[in-house]
């Protein structure tokens, strides 16, 4: 158990080692208790417009019950990231917003300040925020997830999980354990997605029903199909999937373009006048110098490292063949031996120009340069359920 974001959280459960839990998630399914994450609801006539000022997402264009990854951006216009977040549009101009537990206080202060400004400037388009305090958030991840979840749905005829694609969500009730199907949960927001690169679901649950729903899922799968997984496997799984961890791969000084998250900004909002904080800086960075923009000095890249695993803080260098002198190119922000690949994976920020896949560099581990090559992410192909491709 370790302290994390104000909670005591398990790095691993007693039954499985981190590697075994990681492999189990990729082959069966795991349940991650991520109730530490902060669940917020924004509503009011100004909710979409407000969120479009603090993030680069296009929420007016987003259909209800769809989610998008985005970033909260600093009001100083630097393009720096306050936190990364998943935004889900709900019916009636409501938004379900999940932010990181480790950023809770910072995000609370940010939203208080920004909503204060917004509401005084936009009396006719106010926004209000509520937090789902004490609620549970449970992630069911892995190839068996759909089959397991389908077993506990109270009304499987109404909710067709096959039709629920990656990035979509639905309200559904779940049969609670031990009630013979007699007791069902409240309607729960079930979102298809997660933080492992696998197919899976994240389920938002009122506090008093969280244990019941989790036990129902565990019982529906049985130990051969579903196990509990901790922070250790969560970290190695997300790293294989090329996903960022705020405070490590992202911080107040990194911009979405530097972080290789340009894809979260829709094309129509990659303009200096898009109206979100930092739009000017971000639009200039999104255009390379060769095309009249500013580009970036550093970029987040993936690395495959030979020999010793490179961890957070390891320096990325170029080694002069003749003099053996090293020139710093950047730093590793996350790294571990990949349980799936059996090789060492890492992500980090590297000087612009060295960022292309295949570029050979070195990483200093315990003072010695280890060969590394810039690699595309995800390291392990993602398996999101996007429906059957039309024949």
């Amino acid at each position: 158990m370790v302290p994390f974001g104000g909670f005591h959280m398990p790095v691993q459960y007693s039954g499985l080692s981190v590697s075994a839990s990681h492999a189990f998630t990729r082959t069966h399914a795991s349940i991650f208790d991520v109730s530490h994450m902060v669940q917020r609801i924004f509503s009011g006539p100004g909710a979409a417009a407000f969120l479009q000022r603090v993030t680069p997402a296009n929420l007016e264009a987003l259909e209800p019950h769809r989610s998008t990854l985005s970033t909260l951006l600093h009001a100083d216009g630097s393009g720096g990231i306050v936190d990364d977040t998943i935004l889900t549009k709900l019916p009636r101009n409501k938004f379900y917003v999940v932010t990181n537990a480790a950023c809770r206080d910072k995000d609370d202060a940010y939203f208080d300040a920004e909503m204060g400004k917004w509401n005084s400037d936009n009396a006719d388009k106010n926004v209000t925020q509520g937090q789902l305090g004490g609620w549970g958030l449970v992630a069911l991840q892995g190839p068996e997830s759909e089959a397991v979840l389908a077993k506990v749905l109270a009304d499987p005829k109404r909710v067709d999980l096959r039709a629920l694609l990656f990035g979509q969500s639905v309200f559904a009730q779940v049969k609670l354990l031990g009630s013979g199907g007699m007791r069902v949960s409240s309607p729960l927001l079930i979102s298809r997605g997660g933080y492992t690169g696998e197919d899976g679901f994240e389920i938002s649950i009122p506090g008093e029903e969280t244990v019941g729903v989790t036990e129902a899922l565990l019982a529906a799968g049985g130990p051969d199909k579903v196990q509990l997984a901790g922070l250790g496997a969560r970290d190695s799984l997300r790293l294989e999937a090329g996903m960022c961890l705020y405070g490590h791969d992202l911080d107040d000084t990194t911009t979405p373009i530097e972080a290789a998250l340009g894809w979260i900004i829709p094309k129509e909002r990659k303009t200096a006048d898009a109206g979100f904080y930092g739009a000017e800086v971000i639009a200039a960075q999104a255009t390379p110098r060769s095309k009249g923009g500013k580009g970036v000095q550093r970029r987040r890249v993936g690395l495959l490292v030979e020999g010793a695993p490179a961890r957070e803080g390891a320096e990325i260098v170029a080694v002069d063949e003749k003099t053996k002198e090293t020139v710093s190119l950047g730093k590793v922000t996350s790294g571990c031996p990949s349980p799936t690949l059996g090789s060492n994976i890492a992500m980090g920020y590297i000087k612009d120009g060295y960022h292309k896949a295949g570029t050979e560099v070195s990483v200093l581990v315990r003072g010695r340069p280890r060969k590394a090559v810039v690699a595309r992410m995800p390291f392990v192909p993602t398996k999101y359920w996007k429906g059957i491709a039309p024949a």
Binding site: S236, A308, R366
Partner: protein, 151 residues
Amino acid sequence: MASIARCMRVARPLASLAKSSVSRPIARPFSVTSTNAIRKYTKEHEWIDLSADNKTGVIGISEYAAKALGDVVFVELPEEGKKVKAGDAIGAVESVKSAADINAPISCKITHVNLLLEEKPGTINQAGVADLEALMDAAAYEEFTTAEADH
């Protein structure tokens, strides 16, 4: 001790001792003299078994450390011949979740490293105790040979 993290022969850095250990016949470690080594531990979970002559020894990490690390997937070993001071980092043991330095428990010269660990780092997590328990201690062996002689 269950998990033999690494088996490195160390010779004390005194030149004469190091020399004598090198010149010793290879069969010596299997000699009949009783060499009930005393295992000592550091607070960082390394152990050292010094041989009875106090000239050589074997360094490893404790079962507790191996368990805390989880599945070991990488072991970095020191160079043979390297002289190190007590507390110097001489290698590392890494699992998916973390990396741990291995520090020299005493000042010594590394004479051998267990190269098997580079190929099969997971060996560290495999308890060697079951095999050891199948073996006899001195008293049991004496009883065994006496019984053999009676036949």
